[in-house]
Each structure stands twice: as C-alpha cells, then as structure tokens.
C-alpha cells in the first residue's frame, strides 16, 4: 500500500537522494505527525453525538485511516516493546501541520531502513512544526487535552487513556481494531462503550449518556478483552429488550 521508503525520503525535501541518514533529522517529525494523526483519529471515533446516531460513512473512513496508520506503524516496527507514553507527547498539545502528511511522494523507490526511534525523548531540537489552530477540533466539555490551560489532571488522565487505547491497539493483533466495530449493528454507541471501558482513568465526561456503562469499567490493568466481554453482556441485555 505505502511505498515505505518513499515517504521517508520525501519528508525532507532538501536532502533528497542522500540516503537514510540525511533524512534522519526529519524522520522523528514524520513519526510524530503520524502518531498525532492516529490520536486525532481515535478522538474522532470516540466523540459521540449522544442524541443522534453517528454518521456511519465517516466512522468507517476514520477507522480505515486508523487501520492504515496502525499497519504502517507495525511494518515500521514502531512500538514493539516500547512504552508509548514517552513517544514525544509534548507536541500533542499543539496540532501538527498538515504539510508533511499530505506531501506527495516523489523520487525513486528506496530501501532505506528506518531506524527504530525507540521512544526516548527526542534528541536535539524539534524540527519546526507549523501549528494548526486547535480551536477547530470538536471537543467534549470535560476532557480537553488540546488547550494549554486545561487542568493538568484531566489532561494527564486523557493522555494516559489515549496511551492505553494505543497500547491495546499496538500490542493486540489486528483483530483488536475490529473490536471497535463489534456489535455496531445492534447499538452503535457501543463503540463508545468499548472505548470508554478502555479509558479507565477518564471521567465519563466524553460520553456522558453512557455513565451507566462507564461505571462498570474494570480497574486499570485489566485487559481489553474482559472489558469487551462485559460490554457484550450489556449489549445482549439491551438487544433482547
């Protein structure tokens, strides 16, 4: 699907054709951008319009995007054995520029291997990242990680929850992505239930109407699967009524 080497080379326009190392300074940037896009996509999937059924087409397109990112990350070996929390979370509070992610691919196919970034703090100064006005992101009233002045607590907890989602997505195999769509037929907002269940430290604020379900969230550390089993049970009850 993606010409892996191509993307890396094109990230750094000035250093075209100089090989993997030449682009090294900007590779973290691409990875961060991709990470940011993944997180943004997950947020989009979670934000639910409580009263009206969410748009299925939009959800499917976002989920497919998440899957693509996840697949590419898996191919790149990102996150295997790495703790996601430290993957340069700093830029998350500013939305990252569109340019690099949308840049068209140019140049010959290159087989340059991407060095595993590990997930230690980034070396050196971050390359210049243009910021997009964060004000346009639809947000729930309570958790608001994009604003600088949101209380540390809820911001931290939201990020931790995103990490947990990311963790389950990374460390599980492919089927965990599909879990997001389980039982969509009978009651679509269960997608939100599933994700809410994973976010054990988040207040139920993201999906207020599901307080009843969020309250049943298991303690931190439990696996995703047990959350889903509970959700399945709840959904069964719902559907039978």
């Amino acid at each position: 699907m993606f010409a892996r080497g191509l993307k890396r080379k094109c990230v750094d326009q000035e250093d075209d054709g100089e090989g993997a190392l030449a682009g090294f300074g900007t590779i973290p940037s691409y990875s961060l951008q991709r990470q940011s896009l993944l997180d943004m996509s997950l947020v989009k999937l979670q934000l639910c319009h409580m009263l009206v059924e969410p748009n299925l087409c939009r959800s499917v397109l976002i989920a497919n995007t998440v899957r693509q990112i996840q697949e590419e990350m898996t191919r790149d070996g990102v996150g295997q054995g790495a703790a996601p929390q430290s993957t340069g979370r700093a830029p998350l509070d500013r939305l990252v520029s569109t340019e690099i992610l949308c840049r068209t691919v140019r140049g010959p196919e290159a087989g340059c291997p991407v060095p595993d970034l590990g997930d230690g703090p980034l070396q050196g100064p971050l390359p210049e990242i243009c910021t997009v006005d964060a004000a346009e992101v639809p947000r729930s009233p309570q958790s608001n990680p994009w604003e600088m002045d949101s209380p540390r607590e809820s911001r931290g907890s939201f990020q931790k929850s995103l990490d947990q989602i990311f963790e389950t997505l990374e460390h599980k195999n492919h089927s965990s992505m599909e879990d997001l769509f389980s039982d969509m037929d009978s009651s679509y907002y269960d997608l939100d239930t599933v994700l809410t269940g994973m976010m054990t430290s988040a207040k139920p604020g993201l999906c207020d109407g599901l307080e009843g379900f969020a309250a049943a969230a298991p303690p931190p550390g439990s696996t995703c699967k047990s959350d889903l089993a509970e959700v399945d049970h709840v959904v069964e009850i719902l559907v039978e009524t």
């Binding site: 059924e53 087409c57 939009r58 397109l61 992610l101 068209t104 992101v137 089927s175 997001l180 037929d185």
Partner: protein, 444 residues
C-alpha cells in the same frame, strides 16, 4: 446552451434570511427542480419543504425569465425518537425527488434518514357554494326548514396550494438513507442507506424488496459503505451505486433478485504519486448522477468531478479538478471534519456543462465541449438583478494577484453542497448554508 459562446451568469434572486446568525433548522439540505423546471423544491434541516413556482413569462418585459416565488411550504418530517436505541431520528430532509406530472397535481418523494414520504401538492382555486343542507359556515340546517332544492355551484376563490402525504414508506432502513431515485417506469423507486438498497412500488408501503446488501456477516469487517444510488434514466432495470472507496457498481435487476453481484464495476486505479493517509477518504464518492442521455454518469469525490462512459469501466473519460489547492490542506480539513463534506453535482439540460459546489460559497462549472471552467460566488454582494457575476479565482500559492483569494482566507464554513440546474433553461439554483440563490444566463 453551450457551444462556442460562454454563458454569462447573472444574479436573479435570493431566498432566505439575511442575517448571519443561521438557525439550524433553516439549513438547506436538498434542492431539486421538477421535470418541467416550473417548480423548485428545497428541503431543510428542520424537516420542511418549500416549493417555489416560476412566474409565467412576462411577454412585455423579456429581460429575464419568470421569477420563482413561494408556492407551497409544508412540514414533511418531524423529529422522532428510536426508543430501542435511545437515539433521535433527525427530521432533516436528505433528498427530494419529483415524479413526472400525470395530472393536475404534483407529486414528490421526500426522505429523512429513515422514512420516505410521497406528497401530493394540489391547487384549489374554486370552492362549492350554495349547499342545500348546510349553512355557509358549515352547520347543518334544520331539515324541517328545507323547502327547496338547491345544487351547489363552484365559485372562484383565492388560490390555495395544499400538500398532503399520500404514502409513508417506513421501517425498511436500519441505516441512514442517503438516496432515493425514481425508476423510468414511474411505478417503482429505490432508496439506499449505508449498507442496503431497497426497491419500492409507489403504491405499496408495507413491503419493499432488498436489492443490494453489502452488510458483512461480521460487522467488525465493515470497511466500505454505500454513498449514493440512482436509476438509469431510460433503462428501467439498471441502476448504479457508489461507495466510500471510490467505486461505482452498475447493476441489472434482471440478472438476479439480489443484485449483490454487479454487472459493471467502475474504478479508477489510484495514482501512486498522490498517495497519503487521506487518499481513501478523498476518493469516497459523495454523489453520482446519470446524464440526461443515459450514456454517461458523473461522480463527485472530495477534490474532483469525473465523467464516466458506461461502456468503459477502468477509468473516467473526463476528470475536472474542483479545488486541487486543497490537496495540501487535507490534514487540517480532516481535523475540522470538512474532508467529510458531501458535495453534490449536476448536469445541465443538454449534458454539455456540469456544476458542483465548493467552499467560500464558490461554485464551479465545467464546459465539457470547450473544456473551459469558471468559478462563481453566491453572495448577497452581487445583489442587483441582471448583474453579471464576476469570475473568481483562488490563488494556491505564491504571489496573490489582485482580486484573487488566497487559500488561507477561504471560509470553510461557507460551503455549497447542493446545486440544481433547470432541465431546459440556463437557470441554476445554488444553496448556501441557509440561502437559496437563483442565477440565470444573460438574456439580450
């Protein structure tokens, strides 16, 4: 229309509230001319339908064609609540389709996410007067006082236009209806939601036939949805449906009862040099329309309009870029959800020009013969009738010329999603968020 002369478009009318504060219920969600072009229907987010009628041409003043004035307004759909899912069902009118006129009355289908309704719009300009047994106010007279026989006669009255629901087609869609299309047999029609397409008979409301079903057995495997569907204008067994992956399938109902297997699959191979994480999203087709001739079909995806020859499946015969300057902004447009905007497109009566909307209240027309295109703006600033609209230009990068608008100054909240072209004349209806603009070509 068409040919070598470029049309000069003039402002004709604008309908709707003037103030910038848009009431959500007033957001226009669909626009459609009837088969003669005499009537123009709009649907809005509040579930209302407003029909405009064109005035008879004033023979003395032949500067312009007749104006459109309000003919009928009615509440088509009401908000509902699905108790099983604890979710609201929006009353927003997703689509309106007119039936061809068979008698004095007009008929149209209007649909929200779940329910399709057949409305009859009829005129009343006479009423009976002089009842034998009733007083003028309707009360029955005491029979013992009736000594003579009198037959009521029809007397003229002020024109009254009545809309009444004749059929309600409900409970056939689990997912949200995105399209309705009337068959050329004028007896049946299809309705399409995200995963299924149903065939109805206009007279029968208690059952419909499922003709397409792309719901996977395991919903976890869902990766593609139906985005639009339409019957062929001449061939009553043929219809097409488009998908979120940029494909169009043409189906023949004679082949089998369930048209899960397409007769033709139209798909353009991806351009590898343009690949990004957003490629699939921007390839999702938001509208599909057959040409009047039935030989071509047009699709709209996020950045372009494509014309397909029904005999060639592997690529479109024509591609027009609507706003290519947005390609480098896709991430921002994804972030603010604009990338999911569903733009419609339409043909002119002779199939020589196609039109579609964009942002900043711009809309675009592409002449298929001359290969020229034009960008115009729907704005109250060009308010004088018969003022020729000035072409607009967006400056993608670099030095902005005078009168050009830079991409970064575009207003992405001002989007033109719905446009319609009169079936015979060069009259177009363009919907901004809550206003309906009518433009005509300059008549000398």
């Amino acid at each position: 229309a068409g040919g070598g002369n470029d049309i000069q478009w003039c402002f004709s009318q604008v309908k709707g509230a003037v103030d910038d504060d848009v009431a959500e219920a007033d957001i226009i969600s669909t626009v459609e001319f009837n088969h003669s072009g005499e009537l123009l229907a709009t649907g809005d987010k509040g579930g209302r339908v407003v029909i405009f009628q064109q005035e008879q041409e004033n023979k003395i003043q032949s500067h312009s064609r007749g104006e459109y004035n309000v003919y009928s307004t009615f509440q088509s759909h009401e908000p509902e609540f699905d108790y099983l899912k604890s979710l609201e069902i929006e009353e927003k009118i997703n689509k309106i389709r007119w039936l061809p006129q068979k008698n004095a009355a007009q008929f149209l289908l209007s649909t929200n996410d779940k329910t399709i309704k057949l409305w009859k719009i009829s005129e009343r300009d006479k009423r009976p007067e002089g009842y034998n047994l009733k007083e003028e106010d309707g009360r029955y007279r005491d029979p013992t006082t009736v000594t003579t026989l009198r037959v009521p006669v029809f007397r003229p009255m002020d024109l009254m236009v009545e809309a009444s629901p004749r059929r309600i087609f409900a409970n056939a869609h689990t997912y949200h209806i995105n399209s309705i299309s009337i068959n050329s047999d004028y007896e049946t029609y299809l309705s399409a939601d995200d995963l299924r397409i149903n065939l109805w008979h206009l007279e029968i409301t208690d059952r419909s036939f499922n003709i397409v079903d792309i719901k996977p057995a395991n919903m976890e495997e869902l990766t593609e949805v139906i985005t639009a569907a339409e019957f062929h204008p001449n061939s009553c067994n043929t219809f097409v449906y488009s998908s979120s992956k940029g494909t169009i399938r043409l189906c023949d109902m004679r082949a089998s009862a369930l048209c899960d297997r397409h007769s033709k699959l139209f798909e353009e191979p991806e351009d590898p040099s343009n690949r990004s994480f957003f490629s699939e999203i921007i390839s999702s087709i938001s509208d599909v329309k057959f040409s009047h001739s039935g030989r071509y079909m047009m699709t709209r995806d996020y950045l372009s309009v494509k014309i397909w020859d029904l005999n060639m499946e592997n690529r479109p015969v024509e591609t027009y870029q609507v706003h290519e300057y947005l390609r480098s902004k896709l991430c921002s447009l994804y972030e603010n959800d604009c990338i999911f905007d569903k733009f419609e497109c339409c043909w002119n009566g002779s199939d020589s020009v196609v039109m579609t909307g964009s942002y900043n209240n711009f809309f675009r027309m592409f002449d298929r013969n001359t290969k020229r295109d034009i960008t115009l703006e729907a704005s109250r600033e060009n308010n004088k009738p018969r003022t020729v609209l000035k072409p607009r230009k967006v400056c993608a990068s670099g030095k902005r010329k005078k009168d050009e608008i830079s991409v970064d100054s575009l207003d992405f909240n001002k989007k033109i999603l719905h446009t319609a072209w009169h079936p015979k004349e060069n009259i177009i209806a363009v919907a901004t968020t809550n206003n309906l603009y009518i433009f005509q070509d300059k008549v000398n």
